[in-house]
């Protein structure tokens, strides 16, 4: 299966701390995306990193990609209560057209 797997499944931190979530996948990819989902709501695209990129930043988000280890990490710095949500990685692979494979997500709780 191509699907990414996030780790940990759940993470609880204090406001102001950094949160790190990891994603591992099984086959080669074209790109990897991170999405956020607030409870019962839609998926919000956070950041996309291509297979030839190693690191990408967007505001308080930092994503790394290690294709040799088939893994990615999402770092949220200086977390806020509003960051409480589930975070998913989704991988796009060669020869699979334009569909993406989602992991089961990391549930992040930021305690005020």
């Amino acid at each position: 299966s191509q699907q990414g797997e996030e780790d940990p499944q759940a993470l609880s931190i204090q406001e102001g701390e950094n949160a790190t979530m990891n994603c591992s996948y099984k086959t080669s990819i074209n790109n990897l995306q991170w999405y956020r989902q607030n409870s019962g709501r839609g998926l919000v695209h956070l950041i996309l990193i291509r297979s030839n990129e190693r690191e990408k930043h967007s505001g308080r988000l930092r994503v790394t990609l290690d294709t040799s280890k088939k893994s990615s990490s999402l770092l949220i710095t200086a977390s806020r209560a509003a960051d409480t949500a589930s975070y998913f990685c989704a991988t796009g692979a060669p020869n699979t057209g334009n569909q993406f494979y989602f992991g089961t997500g990391t549930s992040l709780t930021v305690i005020p």
């Binding site: 699907q3 074209n30 790109n31 995306q33 999405y35 019962g40 709501r41 839609g42 998926l43 919000v44 695209h45 996309l48 291509r50 998913f88 989704a90 796009g92 057209g97 334009n98 569909q99 993406f100 494979y101 989602f102 992991g103 089961t104 997500g105």
Partner: protein
């Protein structure tokens, strides 16, 4: 910021009934998708649509499912005869390219409950 709009936000239907879930993708996007998420499970790909035809579909997307772009703005998912196991959150998404390199824009979903 442009949005993908889905209606209704919640649909309750009797088993065996037909449902149509509606989506308005971003206006200049060319590729359209449906995904679903059964409660507590992964988001799963159903189908992608480009140039007025299905470009890919998953095993989930059987003969009970169909998609249509009836006009220049709407993109619909029809389930002909709903089953209990069709209960899920259904997400519509769109993208400008089909390469995946620009990410998707997802709608906020339609929660389908089959009773």
């Amino acid at each position: 910021e442009p949005e993908v709009t889905q209606t209704p936000s919640h649909q309750v239907t009797q088993m065996g009934q037909e449902v149509i879930l509606r989506c308005v993708p971003i206006s200049n996007h060319l590729y359209f998708y449906w995904y679903r998420q059964i409660l507590g499970q992964k988001v799963e790909f159903l189908v992608s649509f480009y140039n007025n035809e299905i470009s890919e579909k998953s095993e989930i997307f059987d003969d009970q499912f169909s998609v249509e772009r009836p006009d220049g703005s709407n993109f619909t998912l029809k389930i002909r005869s709903t089953k209990l196991e069709d209960s899920a959150m259904y997400f519509c998404a769109s993208s400008f390219t089909g390469t995946g390199l620009d990410g998707y824009t997802f709608g906020s979903g339609t929660r389908l409950t089959v009773v």
